[in-house]
C-alpha cells in the first residue's frame, strides 16, 4: 500500500533533508478592502492578518499556534500549506518556492503535487463534508486522485481499513452513512481520513477538537497523534486553548507558537511556554486557561483592555502595549523583534532583552491608569469593509 510507503519506524526520526518540509520567510498576508462603489473615494483599509512571520516546520514535526480570535493564526496556517497566497515573503516546500512554482512551473515538483502533500482539516467538520454524499463517496475521491488504478473492491477495502483504524466500526455500516448521521467526533474522523488518504506530509488542523465534548477531546487528540506517528505526517495545529496545545505538543516533542495581531510573539517548547513564559501576552493566555483547582477565585485579567485592538488601525510600537500591564513609553514607539533566549525559545518583548535595555528606564504607561482594565481606546474590532 502506497499509504505506508514512506512510513519508517516511528521510533526513528525521518531522515532529514537539507531543507525543512515547510519554511516560511517573512510571510505577510495583508487584506485590502477597497472593493465596493461606496468606498471608491475613501482610502482603502489594510488588515495585516499575518505580518512578517518566519517559521520552519520539519518532517514529523508538531507545531501548535495559539492566540485569540482574529490574531491571524488560521491565515498563517493556510499560508503554510499553500492555500493562501502571501502578499509578501516566501513559502518553501522542501526548499522549493510554492508560489514561484505556481507562476512559472519551475522546480522538480509541480504545484498540484505540492498542494497534494499539504492538507487541511477544517474547524467545523459538519460543514466540511458534503451532506449529499455518503462516507464512502467522500472517501473515494482522494483514493481515486492518488491511486486511479485501484479497483472498486480494493478501494472499498481501503476505506474500511481506515474507518476501523479510527475506531468507527462496523465500517460497512459507517461507509453507507451520510454526514448528518454521524456525531461531531465521527465527522471529524472522516475529515481526518480524507486528509490522510492524500498521503500528505503536513496537515493543518484548525481547532480540531474545540467543537467536541470535553471527554472526547483527549481521545480525539490521541487518535490524531497515533496517526501522525503511523503516517509520518507533520501537523500544524491551531487552537485558542493552551491546554489542548500543550497536550498535542508535549506528547510529540513539538513547539507552541503564540500569535498576537498577525505576529508570533513567543515560540518554544511546551515546557518553556507554560513554565517559563516570557511575553506578558503568553502569561495572559495562561491566566485564561481554567484550572481545575477552584481554591483561588478568578481575579481581574492581567491585561488593561479585554478587547483586541482594531486590526485596521493596529497600535504603534509593540502591538501589545495597549493591553500590556508592563508597557512603558518605550514600547509605544519601538517594536521588539523576535529574539532567542534559548536554543528553542524565542520571544519579542523588551523585558527579555537584558537588564541594560532602555525599556527599564522608560516610565510605565500602565501605572498611570487607576483601574485594572480600562476602556478600549480603539474602535471596535469588526469587519473593516463596513466603515
Amino acid at each position: 500500500m502506497s499509504l505506508f510507503s514512506n512510513s519508517t519506524n516511528p521510533e526513528e526520526p525521518a531522515p532529514k533533508d537539507d531543507a525543512p518540509l515547510i519554511s516560511l520567510k517573512d510571510v505577510e498576508v495583508h487584506f485590502e478592502s477597497n472593493a465596493g462603489l461606496l468606498n471608491l473615494f475613501s482610502e482603502s483599509q489594510v488588515v495585516k492578518a499575518v505580518d512578517g512571520v518566519s517559521l520552519e516546520i520539519g518532517s514529523n514535526d508538531v507545531v501548535a499556534l495559539v492566540g485569540e480570535s482574529g490574531c491571524g493564526k488560521t491565515t498563517l496556517g493556510k499560508a503554510a500549506i499553500g492555500l493562501q497566497r502571501p502578499t509578501g515573503g516566501s513559502v518553501n516546500y522542501r526548499g522549493q518556492d510554492i508560489w514561484a512554482t505556481n507562476d512559472n512551473g519551475t522546480g522538480p515538483l509541480s504545484f498540484s503535487e505540492i498542494r497534494r502533500s499539504l492538507q487541511i482539516i477544517h474547524q467545523d467538520p459538519g460543514g466540511a463534508l458534503n451532506p449529499n454524499k455518503t462516507v464512502r463517496d467522500i472517501l473515494s475521491v482522494p483514493i481515486k486522485t492518488c491511486e486511479p488504478s485501484l479497483s472498486p473492491n480494493d478501494r472499498e477495502a481501503r476505506i474500511h481499513g481506515m474507518l476501523e483504524r479510527v475506531r468507527m466500526s462496523p465500517p460497512s455500516d459507517y461507509a453507507g452513512r451520510y454526514p448528518h448521521q454521524l456525531s461531531g467526533g465521527e465527522q471529524q474522523r472522516v475529515a481526518l481520513i480524507r486528509a490522510l488518504l492524500m498521503n500528505p506530509d503536513l496537515i493543518l488542523a484548525d481547532e480540531p477538537v474545540s467543537a467536541l465534548d470535553v471527554s472526547l477531546r483527549v481521545d480525539t487528540m490521541d487518535l490524531l497523534l497515533e496517526l501522525q506517528e503511523q503516517f509520518n505526517t507533520s501537523f500544524l495545529f491551531i487552537s485558542h486553548n493552551i491546554s489542548n496545545a500543550r497536550y498535542l505538543t508535549e506528547k510529540t516533542g513539538g513547539r507552541i507558537g503564540v500569535m498576537y495581531l498577525g505576529e508570533i510573539v513567543e515560540i518554544g517548547t511546551p515546557d518553556e511556554i507554560l513554565h517559563n513564559p516570557q511575553h506578558p501576552y503568553t502569561k495572559v493566555l495562561s491566566w485564561a486557561t481554567p484550572q481545575l483547582d477552584s481554591s483561588e477565585k478568578i481575579g481581574d485579567p492581567p491585561i488593561r483592555t479585554i478587547d483586541i485592538p482594531d486590526p485596521v488601525n493596529p497600535p504603534s510600537g509593540c502591538q501589545f502595549h495597549t493591553r500590556c500591564p508592563k508597557a512603558t513609553e518605550h514600547c509605544t514607539n519601538h517594536k521588539p523583534a523576535l529574539q532567542s533566549t534559548s536554543e528553542t525559545h524565542r520571544v519579542s518583548c523588551y523585558r527579555s532583552f537584558g537588564d541594560a535595555h532602555e525599556y527599564w528606564d522608560s516610565p510605565s504607561i500602565a501605572e498611570n491608569e487607576t483601574t485594572s482594565i480600562t476602556q478600549d481606546p480603539q474602535p471596535p474590532a469588526n469587519d473593516c469593509g463596513s466603515r
Partner: protein, 353 residues
C-alpha cells in the same frame, strides 16, 4: 485551601433561602421511535445569591434544564413537575401555572436568560439602543431611568456605552455582543440570571474575562446565577455549587471544590480526569470509554452503568437515588464510599479540606 470567602453551606445553615426550585421536573418529546425523555425527574434547588454551575456534555439535557426553569420548553416538548420561584418576600410562584402575560413578566423582570450564540439573540436590523428601548417600554419601565442603568451596566462590562448603544449587532465583535447581551438581560432588574453556554464560541481569553466580570457584577447586583456549560473547568472557580448532569439527570451536586476535587460519582471523576488542563501529567489524562445514551433508550438501573468501571449487577437493575456524601454533597451512586479508592483523580497534589 485558600478560599477568600468562606463557603456557605446552604443545607446546613437554614438561613439561606431557596430562590428557585425544580421539583421532579421532566421534559419529554414523542418520537416515532418512542418517547424521548430529555429531562428525567430532576429536582434541584437554587439558593438565593449563589452561583450554581450546571455541567454536562452535549445531549445530557442541560439546555432543557435551563428552559424548564422559565417554562420555555417549546412544543411538542412536554414539561411536567413543578417549578417554584420564591419572590423573596415570602411569596411563592408556581411557574408552570402562570398565564402567558404573567409568564412574560416573570421572564424578564424576575428571571432573565442569556442563550448560547449571541448572534441569534440580536435583531440585525435594530441598533443596540433599540433593543434596550424596546425591552424597557414593552415592560412599562421608565425608559430614561432604564437607559441610565444600561449605561452603567455596559460600563461595568468594560464596554463604551455611547459607542455600543449606537452600533448595530454586526458592528460588534462576538465578545462585545455577548457582554452587551448580558447587560440587556439585566436591564429589568431580575433576581435570577440563567445562562446557557453564555461563552461558547468565544475564545478562551474572552470567556475567562466574561467570567471575571460576572463574578464582579453578581455581588453588586445581588444576583442569583445559574451558569450552564459543557466545560467543567471553566466554572470551577466561579461557581459556589456545581451540579453534574448525565443522561438527562443530575447525578451529583455539591460545593464546587468538593465536586471537582473530591467528587463522589464515577462519571464526574472520569470527566475531571479526561479534561485537558495545564497541571495534570499528560499520561494521566484518560478518555471516558463508550458514549452517552440515546434519550429514547436509556439503560435500566444507573444510566452510567454501561460505561462505569465499578458497575455490577445491582447498578444495572436498580437506579441509585441521590445519596448524601457529606458536606451538603449528594451523589447518585450505589458505591459512593468506594468511588475515591476505585477511581483516583489525576490531579494528585490538590486536597480538599
Amino acid at each position: 485551601m485558600a478560599n477568600t470567602e468562606p463557603y456557605r453551606t446552604p443545607n446546613e445553615s437554614n438561613d439561606t433561602p431557596v430562590k428557585l426550585e425544580l421539583r421532579d421536573t421532566s421534559v419529554s418529546f414523542s418520537m416515532d421511535r418512542g418517547e424521548s425523555r430529555v429531562l428525567d425527574s430532576v429536582s434541584m434547588e437554587v439558593y438565593d445569591g449563589e452561583i450554581l454551575g450546571v455541567v454536562g456534555e452535549s445531549g445530557s439535557g442541560k439546555s432543557m434544564f435551563a428552559s424548564a426553569m422559565l417554562d420555555a420548553i417549546e412544543a411538542p416538548g412536554e414539561l411536567t413537575g413543578e417549578v417554584v420561584y420564591h419572590t423573596g418576600d415570602g411569596e411563592t410562584v408556581s411557574v408552570l401555572d402562570l398565564s402567558p402575560s404573567e409568564l412574560r413578566t416573570l421572564r424578564w423582570e424576575s428571571i432573565a436568560m442569556v442563550f448560547q450564540g449571541s448572534h441569534s439573540s440580536w435583531n440585525p436590523t435594530m441598533s443596540i439602543r433599540g433593543h434596550f428601548n424596546e425591552t424597557l417600554s414593552y415592560h412599562d419601565f421608565d425608559v430614561g431611568a432604564g437607559m441610565d442603568r444600561a449605561n452603567r451596566l455596559l460600563s461595568e462590562l468594560y464596554l463604551d456605552p455611547e459607542r455600543v448603544l449606537e452600533s448595530y449587532p454586526h458592528e460588534l465583535s462576538g465578545g462585545m455582543k455577548q457582554r452587551a447581551l448580558i447587560a440587556l438581560s439585566l436591564i429589568l432588574k431580575p433576581d435570577v440570571l440563567v445562562m446557557d453556554e453564555p461563552t461558547a464560541a468565544l475564545d478562551l481569553l474572552m470567556q475567562r474575562s466574561i467570567i471575571a466580570l460576572l463574578d464582579a457584577i453578581q455581588d453588586e447586583y445581588d444576583l442569583t446565577l445559574v451558569f450552564i456549560t459543557h466545560d467543567i473547568e471553566l466554572v470551577a472557580d466561579l461557581a459556589d455549587r456545581l451540579a453534574v448532569m448525565y443522561a438527562f439527570e443530575i447525578i451529583e451536586a455539591g460545593p464546587a471544590d468538593h465536586v471537582l476535587l473530591d467528587s463522589s460519582h464515577p462519571y464526574t471523576r472520569s470527566l475531571v480526569n479526561s479534561t485537558p488542563n495545564l497541571e495534570t501529567p499528560i499520561e494521566k489524562m484518560q478518555p471516558i470509554p463508550g458514549e452517552a445514551p440515546d434519550p429514547v433508550n436509556v439503560p435500566t438501573g444507573c444510566s452510567y452503568s454501561p460505561r462505569c468501571q465499578l458497575a455490577d449487577e445491582r447498578c444495572r437493575t436498580e437506579d441509585p437515588p441521590m445519596i448524601d456524601a457529606g458536606n451538603a454533597h449528594e451523589s447518585a451512586c450505589h458505591y459512593v464510599e468506594h468511588v475515591d479508592e476505585e477511581i483516583p483523580l489525576s490531579i494528585t497534589d490538590v486536597t480538599v479540606q
